[in-house]
């Protein structure tokens, strides 16, 4: 035990007190000197302050030079990081640009389509002449669904004029007399009207059934014609102006029938119109 304590003391003494190989100062001396500097520095001893100022002068300049490689490494790291960020940003922007370009093509297409449709609309700008007439005869014949109105050729009524009731299509003039005219109703078996069904812009032919409704013909069964779809005139064939509301689709016994907006049995006054295309 005694030997062990002696060894410890010898080792400590050797480490702290003995001046080592090639050492100019002993560790204890330098430790003591360091403590002295700290204590004197605490009480603002002028020599310590001068020492600090002198070391400051040397160190700050040296530190600036010494830290150049680290700063360079830091700058290089930041530069590489920036480049990577730039690349990521570039990729992201490229993706966005592609998306915008694609949207632009769509937009260009829509603009072109809009222009084309506007042009088409301008071409199909109708001039209309309207006359009102009173229904004289409304015979509910089972073979012919027609009405007689009190306007004829003396009122410039011509064959093929569109007949409307409350802006809904009723039929067309098929016979013109001097003071009267016959109107073939849409519900007549011989009535064939080109129509357009919305939504879907489905083109079809509306035929009369001889009853108070119509039927859709000449369309594929796969077409998505749903109950509640609205039937408009399509304007095909030039018989009627396009877009006149006709009726609503109802599905009965797997057949698509059309309930007309106008009640043909209640017609009292109708409107006779002619439409001429402005461009023509």
């Amino acid at each position: 035990m005694e030997t062990s304590r002696d060894d410890f003391v010898i080792a400590i003494r050797s480490a702290f007190l003995k001046k080592g190989n090639k050492q100019r100062f002993s560790l204890t001396f330098l430790l003591f000197f360091s403590v002295l500097l700290v204590v004197l520095g605490k009480y603002n001893f002028f020599a310590v302050n001068y020492l600090r100022v002198a070391i400051n002068e040397i160190v700050y300049r040296s530190s600036f030079i010494i830290s150049v490689p680290e700063k360079y490494a830091e700058q290089s790291y930041n530069s590489i990081k920036d480049h990577i960020e730039l690349y990521r940003e570039y990729s992201s922007l490229k993706e966005k640009l592609n998306k915008i370009e694609s949207e632009k093509y769509n937009s260009d297409f829509l603009i072109a389509e809009n222009k084309r449709l506007k042009k088409t609309l301008e071409n199909v700008n109708y001039l209309s002449e309207e006359q009102h007439a009173k229904v004289l005869i409304d015979k509910g014949s089972p073979f012919l669904r027609s009405i007689i109105v009190n306007k004829g050729s003396n009122n410039n009524i011509t064959k093929g004029m569109t007949v409307l009731s409350n802006n809904y299509l009723v039929g067309k003039v098929v016979e013109v007399n001097f003071t009267t005219s016959r109107v073939l109703l849409l519900s007549d078996l011989n009535s064939k009207t080109p129509v357009s069904i919305e939504p879907g812009n489905i083109q079809a032919i509306l035929s009369g059934t001889g009853e108070n409704d119509g039927i859709i013909q000449y369309t594929s069964e796969n077409l998505p014609i749903k109950s509640g779809s609205i039937v408009y005139t399509s304007g095909t064939g030039g018989l009627f102006k396009e877009g006149i509301p006709v009726g609503k689709i109802v599905e009965l016994d797997n057949k698509k029938k059309v309930n007309f907006f106008s009640d043909f049995s209640q017609l009292r006054f109708i409107k006779l119109s002619t439409y001429e295309k402005k461009g023509d």
Binding site: L27, L30, V38
Partner: protein, 169 residues
């Protein structure tokens, strides 16, 4: 002349530990870019070289390095010198009592050394000099310094073998 030239580079290589120490203290070399990650490279360097080859680091140079570190960091002058010299003392003690050096033993004694030195550091700064330091940062610094000792010790060992042509353990 040729002889002198031939000796210049080997001598420069032998001075590498002290040059590295001065670069470390002038540059405040601790990699504290990441939050809570920092380590005290001069502690590792002084401990290793004092333990393995004490003549490569003169106590006087270590003392001056401490003064420089105080100025760079802003500690009271002479304060870091005490820490550095205490590490030299601990390393010297271990050298004196060790017959067959082992890396693990050095490493564990290094933990004891830096714990003692950082405790002195904390007590003196916080209590006597009223300089506030972050206890948590000091703890992490101690931990990473201890953990990284093995890495640097192995690197220094390779360097020592290559330059000083000797094998310690």
């Amino acid at each position: 002349m040729v002889l002198a030239k031939n000796k210049f580079y080997p001598n420069l290589l032998k001075l590498a530990p002290i040059i590295l120490l001065y670069i470390a203290v002038l540059n405040d070399f601790d990699f504290n870019y990441i939050k809570y990650f920092s380590f005290n490279f001069p502690f590792i360097l002084i401990y290793y070289w004092s333990l393995k080859k004490s003549e490569s680091l003169g106590y006087g140079y270590i003392f001056i390095a401490g003064l420089i570190n105080d100025v760079v960091v802003g500690f009271p002058i002479g304060f870091t010198s005490i820490n550095y010299l205490l590490i030299c003392g601990f390393a010297g003690y271990l050298r004196n009592i060790t017959l067959r050096p082992r890396m693990v033993q050095d490493w564990l004694f290094f933990l004891l050394t830096i714990s003692f030195v950082n405790s002195i550091n904390f007590i003196v700064l916080n209590m006597l000099l009223a300089v506030k330091i972050d206890y948590l940062n000091l703890f992490y610094n101690t931990f990473f310094t201890f953990a990284l000792y093995l890495v640097f010790a192995n690197l220094f060992k390779i360097y020592q073998t290559a330059v000083f042509k000797e094998i310690n353990d």
